[in-house]
Structure formats: structure tokens, C-alpha cells
């Protein structure tokens, strides 16, 4: 024990360090969120927080649950791969509560979004200069939006 005879000040210093360490660990325990480090150097709970956002676009599977007549018609035509909300807009609220009716669409404005002629579009994609093609008439005057061939040809 002779070695520790004059070491009292060292023990006091060690005590101060130990108290500091305990304070650090206690504060750390309170301040660092429980989920920090669950998956990596970030808050694990933020994943579920990001995932908790509400969905605005219901997805075509939801639409097809009720509107199978339209989806059957669409599946046979050129618009088979165009999903419902691509034209009709976000309708998750309508899918949750079908009494909320979505607004009617203006085809004179809607169709040219995709089909207005533009040299940067792929050449195989059907395009028209709408001003010459229809002089501003709504496209559904002649075309069926869900299967966009003109009436007489659709009968074939």
C-alpha cells in the first residue's frame, strides 16, 4: 500500500473525471433518441416518419376494383399502359370515399399535353399539331379517350 500513500489527489482527480463521465453518459442517454443507430448513423424512426406520408395517387389497382368496365375497354386499346390518374389526377380521396366525385376533364387541354407535335418526341409516338388538327375542338368530339380510335374504325 506504500505506493498509494501520497496519491490522494490522484483519486480525487479520478473522482472528478468519473463524475464527468457519468454526467456525459446520463445526458447522452436523455438527448440521443432511442432509435439512433438502429440501422446506421441516423435516427431509425425517421424511416417510419417518412413512410407515414399520406398517399394522394391511389394507384390503378384501386381504380380497377370498381371501374373494371373502363379498364377492360382501355386494356384493348392504345392507352392500355396509361394509368387512370395520369389523366384524371390524384384521386386517393375519391377511392376512400366514392361519394366525392372528381371533376370532369377538358380533353382539349388534356390530350395535347402528350400528343402535341414536338420534334423532341420519339418519332413513333402519335403526334398532331392540335391547332391544325382540331382547331381547338375537344378531342373527345371524335376520339374515345379510353380507347382512342375514331368510332367507325373501332367497330372493325
Amino acid at each position: 500500500m506504500n505506493a498509494f500513500k501520497n496519491a490522494g489527489h490522484l483519486f480525487r482527480l479520478a473522482g472528478v473525471f468519473l463524475a464527468g463521465l457519468m454526467l456525459f453518459l446520463t445526458l447522452r442517454g436523455f438527448l440521443v433518441p432511442k432509435s439512433f443507430g438502429q440501422y446506421g448513423h441516423y435516427r431509425g424512426n425517421s424511416l417510419s416518419e417518412v413512410a407515414a406520408r399520406t398517399v394522394n395517387f391511389a394507384g390503378h389497382q384501386s381504380c380497377e376494383a370498381c371501374h373494371s368496365d373502363v379498364s377492360d375497354k382501355k386494356a384493348k386499346g392504345k392507352h392500355a399502359l396509361v394509368n387512370c390518374e395520369a389523366c384524371h389526377g390524384p384521386l386517393a380521396k375519391h377511392a376512400d370515399d366514392p361519394s366525392l366525385q372528381p371533376a370532369k376533364l377538358d380533353t382539349a387541354m388534356l390530350c395535347p399535353r402528350c400528343h402535341e407535335a414536338n420534334p423532341a418526341k420519339p418519332r413513333t409516338f402519335p403526334q398532331v399539331a392540335s391547332a391544325e388538327h382540331s382547331t381547338g375542338l375537344p378531342c373527345d368530339t371524335c376520339h374515345q379517350p379510353h380507347s382512342p380510335v375514331i368510332g367507325a374504325r373501332a367497330a372493325k
Binding site: 442517454g29 438502429q38 441516423y42 431509425g44 425517421s46 398517399v55 390524384p90 420519339p122 409516338f125
Partner: protein
């Protein structure tokens, strides 16, 4: 019981592991979605893109992106036959309202949709000083709004210009690959609304995903491969002039 120094040394690592477990808390219960069974990315099939801007509008409506800011946008390239290394690029309003046809019909014209490339080695997460941005175990780069200081390091670090500071929250924001949708079995808002199928969500860990066959049979590139970011947004038939 007599605890010798040897016993204590053996106990220390065990205590460390136990402490780490206490700090980690219990993992969140996620029904039906197994975070370790996915590795998300996206395929952009450029020859199919018609520049309609549906993806940009869908993204803004789904994710409440402020006006004038974009988590995804569409660029129009014009490459002259006489100067193929210096394309003219424009993106009026991020391509949100489509593109007015240019009168200049010579040369090559095409659209390139852009978004966060969901890098597997992302520069933005490496520079974040507070652990507010990270790569999730399923391969999506996300931002923790609660932790973000708004210091803008990540905005500068992204080689693709995919991040911005949301003026309302003053925190960094970016494409989440619609994490709230893909974890529920839906596709992203942009993919759902792409009328030509030019954008497709891909899950590289799903052996049944058609992406595996697509990558084998097509000429696919990522943007800025020299940055070694290991981007997971794949561009089919990407023109050499695209930056």
C-alpha cells in the same frame, strides 16, 4: 463470488453489447414490408419519354413540393450535328407544363427526366454533419427533417443537383422515391403517372423484377459514372451528350 481482473475484462464487451442494445431501443414493427428484402432503384427508358411533364406534376402533387422547386424535372436536349459535345439544354418550369416545340428542327432533340439517383455511395450522406441524411437499408437516400440543420452541405455535394432547401421548413429536401408509397406496395407517383412507361420503379433484390433481364439485353448507363456514386437510376440508350 470473487470477480478477478480477468473476469472483469471478459465481462466488459458483454456489457458494451448490452448497453448498445439498450440505446437502440426496439425496432419499429413494419407489417408486410421487410426492409432488408428490397434494394430500390429506377429505370428511365429514354426512347419512350415524350416530355409531357406528367411525372413532374405528379411528384409535386404527391409530395407537396413548393412551387419553383423540383424533386424530379425533365430536360430537353438539342444536339447540333456540328457540335455534338455541347448540347443546348432547357427545362422551362422543370418541364412541368410540357415543352413548346422549338422551330429548330435540325440536329437531335430528346428529353431526359432527372431525379435523385439514389446512389449506393452517395456524396450527400457522406457530408452531412449531423446524420440527418442517410441511405436506408432498402437503398433509398432519405432526409430526417427533425435532424436537418439546413446547412446546405448536401445541396452542394450532390453531383446531380437533386437537392434543395425547402423555403417553408428550411431543411434539405429531395426525392424520397415515394418511400411512403413503395413501402405500401404501390409504385412511385412519377412511375404511376408516366403514360408511356418511360419511368419504372425497380427492386434489384427481387429476382422476379424484369429489370434483371432488361439490364442484360439493353445498353444502359447511369449519370456521371466517373463520380463513383454507384447510382441506381438506370438510363436506357442515354446519349453521350447528357451531363
Amino acid at each position: 463470488m470473487n470477480i478477478t481482473r480477468r473476469h472483469l475484462l471478459l465481462l466488459l464487451p458483454a456489457a458494451g453489447v448490452a448497453w448498445k442494445h439498450v440505446m437502440a431501443g426496439t425496432p419499429e414493427a413494419a407489417p408486410n414490408y421487410k426492409i432488408t428484402e428490397h434494394w430500390w432503384g429506377m429505370l428511365i427508358d429514354l426512347p419512350k419519354c415524350i416530355g409531357c411533364g406528367n411525372c413532374v406534376r405528379a411528384c409535386q402533387e404527391e409530395n407537396d413540393v413548393p412551387d419553383g422547386y423540383f424533386r424530379t424535372w425533365v430536360e430537353r436536349y438539342h444536339v447540333s450535328d456540328y457540335d455534338i459535345e455541347n448540347p443546348q439544354v432547357d427545362s422551362p418550369g422543370g418541364g412541368k407544363n410540357g415543352f413548346v416545340a422549338s422551330k429548330n428542327k435540325e440536329g437531335k432533340n430528346f428529353f431526359v427526366p432527372k431525379l435523385c439517383n439514389q446512389c449506393a455511395d452517395s456524396p450527400c450522406t457522406q457530408v452531412c454533419p449531423v446524420g440527418a441524411t442517410f441511405i436506408s437499408p432498402d437503398g433509398v437516400v432519405l432526409v430526417d427533417k427533425e435532424y436537418c440543420l439546413g446547412c446546405r452541405y448536401c445541396v452542394q455535394a450532390c453531383p446531380y443537383g437533386c437537392r434543395f432547401i425547402n423555403p417553408k421548413t428550411d431543411t434539405a429536401e429531395k426525392c424520397t422515391l415515394c418511400y411512403h408509397r413503395i413501402t405500401k406496395g404501390l409504385t412511385t407517383a412519377c412511375c404511376e403517372n408516366c403514360p408511356t412507361g418511360a419511368r419504372q420503379l425497380v427492386d434489384l433484390k427481387n429476382p422476379a423484377d424484369p429489370i434483371h433481364e432488361f439490364l442484360k439485353t439493353h445498353s444502359v448507363q447511369v449519370l456521371k459514372p466517373s463520380m463513383a456514386t454507384h447510382a441506381k437510376v438506370f438510363y436506357n440508350e442515354l446519349d453521350g451528350s447528357v451531363r
